[in-house]
Homo-oligomer: 212 residues x 2
């Protein structure tokens, strides 16, 4: 698998678009510096999810940015995405690896050390650890202490991404640890996307530049 | 693909189980004469859907009855089901065929002649045409006249199954046409499953025996 720059990982959420096009929003975010895009859809049909995936596949490909599909392995295959992101309630990573093979990225959400360890053992390419801060995007979010985030970065050999309520005010708190990136939703999509991304990117580049 | 006996096709629905185990209910239905089982799940996590699929895979395999998964191509692959059933709002059959290959069954729901024709062109193995009668299982059901059902059986070369509100009282009305089977939910799962299946099966066998 090619080396992935996970440093600023956008997860889509139509609730923040306020009438803007999802595709324009993602393109603006990529132009400003987002390095990975995860398409996450709720409350639309599979057909619409698939069609949105096809369009984002085109856009992300033209910028050479990896596209990850949330949850739906079949849709990830159907749109030829770069990978799939699995929560703890989704198909097991081990089973998904058998379906999609070794050329695709598998990401797994982890809310504690055991889940992160299991994801790694099951062959995940990265773990998204969170929620590290209070998040408006997930009402049922489980929270992870920064101490646990640190422990995971120290003991788990695959890339660790921090997720959950990360914004330009608190991002420095997670950039202290050996993470390979941060996942953002509202911190990117709410308001001026280009400016949001540039502010986040600036902080990430300063802190993570030793890694990339 | 092996020749499939679609004559009495059970679609699962936990709302009719009233505390009974889904697995016991399906096994009882198979013992009494159900020839295909479609696992349809709503409001459970993907992980639970997958685990239910694994268990039903074992049961159906032991009786040599095909297992179809509703909607989720990834779960169908993960549990090694015999096929997948797609609604009009799901992934297109053509795309699914590329993912699952030619050894798996693809069924498509059709609510009019055009949808049935398209399903056939897209390489579906069968079409489920309905709802032919008023159904309690789907609030947003589209209805199909018996005249359209007849037209589809006459002009579409793949097996046509009738679906929607079919029970022992009205089954003879659809068995007049050249269908290859009937899909039932509540008519099988409500009340005494064994007796329900035997009554339906008896009528089907009398009318469809010339076909099988
Ligand atoms: Ni669906």
């Amino acid at each position: 698998m090619r080396n992935v720059d996970y440093s600023l990982y956008l997860i889509t959420d139509r609730t923040y678009l306020k009438g803007r096009s999802l595709f324009d929003a993602v393109e603006e975010a990529i132009r400003a510096g987002v390095t990975v895009v995860q398409l996450r859809e709720k409350n639309i049909s599979d057909r619409e999810f698939y069609e949105a995936g096809l369009k984002l596949r085109e856009i992300t490909k033209s910028y050479d940015v990896p596209l990850i599909i949330n949850d739906r392995v079949d849709i990830a295959i159907a749109v030829d995405a770069d990978g799939v992101h699995l929560g703890q309630e989704e198909l097991p990573a081990k089973v998904v690896r058998e379906i999609i093979g070794y050329k695709k990225i598998i990401g797994v959400s982890a809310a504690n050390f055991e889940e992160a360890k299991k994801a790694c053992e099951d062959g995940a390419d990265y773990v998204g650890v969170g929620a590290v801060f209070k998040t408006p995007s997930k009402k049922d979010a489980k929270y992870v202490s920064l101490e646990t985030l640190r422990e995971i970065t120290e003991k788990i050999p695959i890339p660790v991404l921090a997720i959950g309520g990360i914004d330009k005010e608190n991002i420095d708190e997670v950039l202290k640890y050996d993470i390979k990136g941060v996942c953002c939703i509202s911190a990117i999509l709410k308001g001026d996307i280009g400016e949001n991304v540039r502010l986040l990117k600036d902080k990430i580049t300063k802190k993570l530049k030793q890694i990339y």
